[in-house]
Amino acid sequence: MTVMAVARRTLAKDLRLEWRAKDAVNSMLFFALLVVVIFSFSFDPTAEESRRIAGGLVWVAFLFAAVVALNQTWARELRNQVLDAYRVSPAPAVSLFLAKAVGNFILVSALELLMTPLFVVFYNLRSVGPVYQLLLIAVLGTWALVVNGTFFAAISIRTRSREIMLPLILFPISIPALLAMVDATTSVLTGEASPRFWLQLLAVYDLVFTTVCLALFDTVINAE
């Protein structure tokens, strides 16, 4: 089987499992909802000023919620030594990574789709700039979080404190991507600046780290 065929099968299996159990989606959604409510205590969320911080707010909520899903990426494969079975099988490791990354991308995108109306309602958001740019930021930004997140989750499950480890190694590396997402979103929402530079930066970030992830995943998954 080719790389893509294995990836497609694995992705289909993961999505089917997620569809039946809804573990990751439910916990992510509830978590993001909690973040929305807790944030609203620290400032007046309906004030006109809040549009300036809305970009940061939305992405921090999505980031924290995404970590919940990312942490569960490999947990399922550890039970019954599925990951070990995969390692000794002739299936390419890259396709496993692609399937997991795309699966997480779908989950986090679904979360964003469900949460955005809630943000709009709770924080009284209106976009001054063009909305299609927000969509582009969301796609590039989510991939930036998810591709490294999937890779680092594979690293963190091999450490002593699995769940705590992921944000500790993911957040520092993700700082430029987060900065790009937050500032681009703010500049579209306020309509004050063009997000062009940030979109280019996100595209470069995605390209660089997708390449590195694909190049190093085989090494990391077979680390003894």
Binding site: P90, R158, I173, I175, P176, D183, A223
Partner: protein, 256 residues
Amino acid sequence: MKRFYPFFVLVTLALLSYAFYQGMFAAPTEATMGDVQRIFYYHLPHAWVAFLLFFANFLASIWYLVRRTERADALALASAEVGVVFCTVVLVTGPLWARPVWGIWWTWDARLTSTLVLWLIYVSYLVLRRFATGAQTQVLAAALAIFGFLDVPIVYLSIRYFRTQHPQPVIGGGEGSGLDPRMWIAVLWNLAGFLAFALLLVRLRYRLALAENALEAAHADRALGNLEQMPPPRASTQAGESPESHSALKLGNEPR
């Protein structure tokens, strides 16, 4: 190398003392900032040495992934650890200097922010090394080191854009165009001194890492030696493992 070592310690001490003299007495007092500017002779060399050590960590990590030698990993660990120490010195001397000159301890200026992010990245590398277990630590750490180093130019690019786009409360940076030649001499002597000091520390840490690995290997050997004297448990673990790997192989054949 061993005979050379005490000599190198003496050279480092001599360099550091002479650099101290240069920075504290020989260099002229800065016109507007006064004597507090002399912290610059520690601030800048530490920053450069830290960047150099992080680059060494990147090269050693690639070397480890290609060759899988203990030495490469020990070098990566040593350079990252000493690099974080030097970067910490930069982050501590910066505010000490900024407070009397700028009037504030910290400002989210481009250079300060990116140095802080750099520090965070390498601290996370050290955290991973502490929490990972067994021999896989070295592979995982090497992978993270490559991610971290590739992230550095993106961090600089993004933060520079972010901070120049917005109005800046404080005009940053003390060094630059109009540096007195005698100040340059003091900078270069301090750079030489602290570079030698860093190399000394890296070498010590490198030897320590190798010694730790050797000790761990010796413990493992001893434990295995004890096991060999008691055949029954060893046989049972083998029996426990084989059906698993057998079924795994069968699973693996399926996709073909």
